[in-house]
Symmetry: D3
Subunit: 240 residues, 6 copies
């Protein structure tokens, strides 16, 4: 039924490759099928003015798409002179998702900027970004710990994200571009490793959807996130 031949509850092939950038304190190239996002985490000593002398650090994110990451080339945001509303929405979402599982008091008055740049897009770039950003940020914390800058990795929990949608009236997990552009509804779920909800965003593309349909999407997401969280732990060498 799905264009890719996947079953409704099947993720695409997911890989999370670490240490892909020689400069960044943490980095991860995440692939959800043909969607590829390069995530780097950069540790900076300055923090936003409102946090000075608070004993807290900050984590923020930026998102971008390479012009030909998409089927038709999209204009370069740097050339257009501003970031689109969609870009800003996504980068704010990534930042909130990461901060939800970080103890901001646990790494000093530093700012970590996580850049998520889409190398190739095939649907689900924001959920892949969050999933990879967690890994890059973890790497950066590990780097800081190895230098003695922090004594503990200040994560409270894991965080990962996945999209679900109604495709030909069937709830399916991890929409690719073909499904996404034809879906009746789609929802992005950001959940923690322990299953808590960090962020839910559901949108009806055509007709409104029902509460039962929404619950079916959330069921799929809960299972999908478990697989993604396990993949994150494997990528980080925290389990086999």
């Amino acid at each position: 039924m799905r264009p890719s031949g996947r079953t409704p509850d099947q993720l695409r092939d997911v890989t999370l490759e670490v240490n892909v950038n020689k400069h960044a304190e943490g980095s991860c190239l995440v692939k959800f099928g043909d969607t590829q996002v390069l995530c780097t985490a950069s540790v900076e000593d300055s923090i936003p003015p409102w946090l000075r002398n608070s004993g807290k650090g900050w984590v923020t994110a930026e998102y971008g798409m390479l012009p030909r990451s998409t089927g038709s080339r999209v204009a370069r945001e740097a050339a257009r002179g501003k970031q689109s509303g969609r870009t800003q929405e996504i980068q704010r979402l990534i930042g909130r998702s990461l901060r939800a599982v970080v103890d901001l008091k646990g790494f000093g008055e530093r700012q970590i900027k996580v850049d998520c740049d889409v190398i190739q897009a095939d649907g689900g770039t924001r959920t892949a970004s969050i999933t990879g950003a967690y890994v890059a940020l973890h790497q950066a914390f590990t780097h800081m710990k190895s230098l003695g800058a922090i004594s503990e990795i200040p994560f409270i929990d894991q965080v990962a994200a996945v999209s679900c949608g109604l495709y030909k009236e069937t709830p399916v997990l991890d929409l690719d571009y073909d499904e996404d552009s034809a879906a009746e509804a789609d929802a992005n779920f950001v959940l923690t490793g322990r299953g808590g909800i960090v962020e839910v965003q559901g949108t009806a593309e055509a007709d409104p959807f029902s509460r039962d349909q929404f619950n079916a999407l959330l069921d799929l997401a809960e299972a999908g996130i478990q697989s993604l969280a396990a993949a994150q732990r494997r990528a980080l060498g925290l389990e086999q």
Copy 2:
């Protein structure tokens, strides 16, 4: 328990005043307690290029806050030279919400721009905007019908929105600013008059929330939207 003395399932006083602008084809001043948003609907004959010769029209929205609508003055976006990510997120949400209940083939190749300008803010400006924007847009359609430009009001359903949140661990309806800034989680629900879900946006502000908690918020929202939809019908003279 609530700062305002409301019960957990109680909306603020809601008023929807129509015909508040002598120029606009449709207008509505919506108040959710001390939150006041002026919504105007402007009918234009031009449409976006990608819809030319499609037989379809378009509905879009813009959102803004007056500089001193808030407790501390916020810099004027026109002076800063760009709209914030938050502004863009909200205006995109309003536009999607309206389009979800409009038959875009039902009013010719025209574009209707709905402006939602926050005169005074006390929490819930985006949900008040959606609720008022529906009324302003309905007025504009009525105006077009009275001129013979359309024969039917091209609404498929009503749409309204409300926020809910966990305040001191209790699910409450229609957060005001004092609650919103202290809430553990908050969610915005955009539902149709018949109860379909158009958009759900839930965010954990501190700890992640559980699925049960999320369901409690949705229960509150479903009831609240019924009240708001009735208020819309009364404002439009569609029922007593």
Copy 3:
């Protein structure tokens, strides 16, 4: 002779409503007929760098029009990414007019920003803005005095403004939109309560006008300003 039926020396109905915003230190909704401008005065503790350690404060103004305040919707300046030349001209004029009657040494090193936002336009928005801005600023000073931040209201005089023009070759007071768009000449006068001239801006729209004509406009303005200044005092409770 005038579209509104007014006599040449007759103002529109003018109302000045105070305390219309729960957040601002001072606020005033001014109406000159169908022209409605919301004025808020916001007191801030920071001042422009060039005034630091001068013992002086600063008063500045910003002006904006809601997109559908006008007959045809105008593009939102925040979306276009810049303020028009007209907007900047007007807000500079409002700021100069207020500073002309304020003792800048009389309220400490603070900055007061007066926002004038046009809710509905029907001609004369800049003169209504100045007239209302004075009231909002007075309210803010009263608020500061009530808190003990200042001991005297640091106004040297009142200030108000009105437009006059040559309409069908007759000098008339307080042009509305219908008159303004057909006038041969128009002039904006900013005068103090005691009759001093703060600012004069006269422009020939078609043929140049004569010195006699200009004097007739100034005669009208002097009388009009007296009425406006009395209305300001009543709004502020300074006289019955």
Copy 4:
């Protein structure tokens, strides 16, 4: 009494040099003492969209200051990414002043752009700009006539401008920078060769000024404009 030793009713040395640019259809280097402005008039075949098929042309102006035209270097507007409010105010004024004396139906559907670039500033740049812009525009019309593009020079009248001010309580003509920065009031007058008023802009810098004082400034201006208009005619070879 004046820093320059001039009498109150004395202009600075004024020169208007034509044909100073090999490319422009009309050009004039105007000097009011040490204030130097290069004015060029460029004829273009395209007109603003709202004038198409109207049979009318358009005249517009742009104004700029070289970064070190002033005592302290001012930041380049091109580098800052926007024109200041002051720049926009001045260029709008120049454009209106020129259009007031041009028959827009007299040169076809063309647009003439007059650029006024301040090479060196010493007060009165806007009035020098208007005075020189008239000459440059006249040259451009003469050029068009010589090519047979028009049969008559479509000027209805001459236009020139001068500033006056209250300096140490004395009304003086044509303020230089030293006077301008110390003046209690200053006013810019744009008058036609026949004495009609095109534009009046008077501003109190410190205390408000009286109607009598304003009249004294206008008396000075009327005489000054006669001298400037004669200098324009000489520069154009229209009289000895």
Copy 5:
């Protein structure tokens, strides 16, 4: 003597991997050692207005660096709202270099945009970009030919680029970052496969350099370009 242990006339390891993007008509991931640039060529049917009905196409380039491609994170140009002067210089150079070897009449009125995005930087990003951009553009032409859109690959010659510099007074080929930041002079050479000079840019970083030194750099470049051109042909399958 070189930090990398290379001989003065030794290139870094160069790889040119084609077909690295599923969407682009042509793509190449070029690596000069640790410098990695993703080049994609996008064929569009629209051309710049000045080429309409000329029978000619156009090739242009854009360049960008991912924020953490560098040792310290650089601010995202899309977030800053403009491209730096350096970025514009480089993308103009890439475009000119490609156009120098393309027959613009050979592929119809189409525009090809080549995006060069630096994934990781270690010196020489502009020369790597040009070298990879040629390959991506060749792939795009091959794609067009396979579709029958063109009958011949419209390249007149190959083009590649390399930097040379004076490092510790010795002329060396293909500077990496460590050398580049310490070099007394550096020069970028864009040469064709047949050895013609397309572009030369030499800059003294400290003291001026002599003509003899410049000639030594050009000698190195000529040899280096031969190696790069061979690598391009191998990557394109044009030789073993």
Copy 6:
């Protein structure tokens, strides 16, 4: 053979007029034939943050063209809201060229901004700018020395620039606009008074050029720069 009748190795008439601006610490109006550039040097006490407490100063340059300096009017960069890539390229080149011959430790922690504004363009504006900028900067240093701010003029050498090109296959010196727009290749050379190379930029406009051709251009430049350097010394009164 050349449109101007010059021999291949002949410069245009070059004049360098100093002290042309009453405000600037140094100024020079440079003319290469009909190309006229006004160069001013402004000394400022602030330096870029990265140089604080370094004991070094900084020299930077900005470049602009008046809108009608060219044959067809070009849009004002301040009005378009950004500087073109070409403008940025040129001003970066001017700055580098000047810094190559200045001892940055020789004038304290000050910044000197050299503005090069093209009054009239006829080819070679960037080379004229560099040649004139050196003179303006020298004047500024002389001014500082006369005030006792520095004890020595901190120039290590002179710097001047000239363009050469292949015009109808002949190498020619100092291209004017007619030649520049028809040249097969052109190169800009920035050399010191002692003949060292500061910057070389050669570009093939049509076919690539050969190394022999490039050498012929450099031969012309070396002779031309000697003449320009002598003209600079005469303008500065350093030789007759």
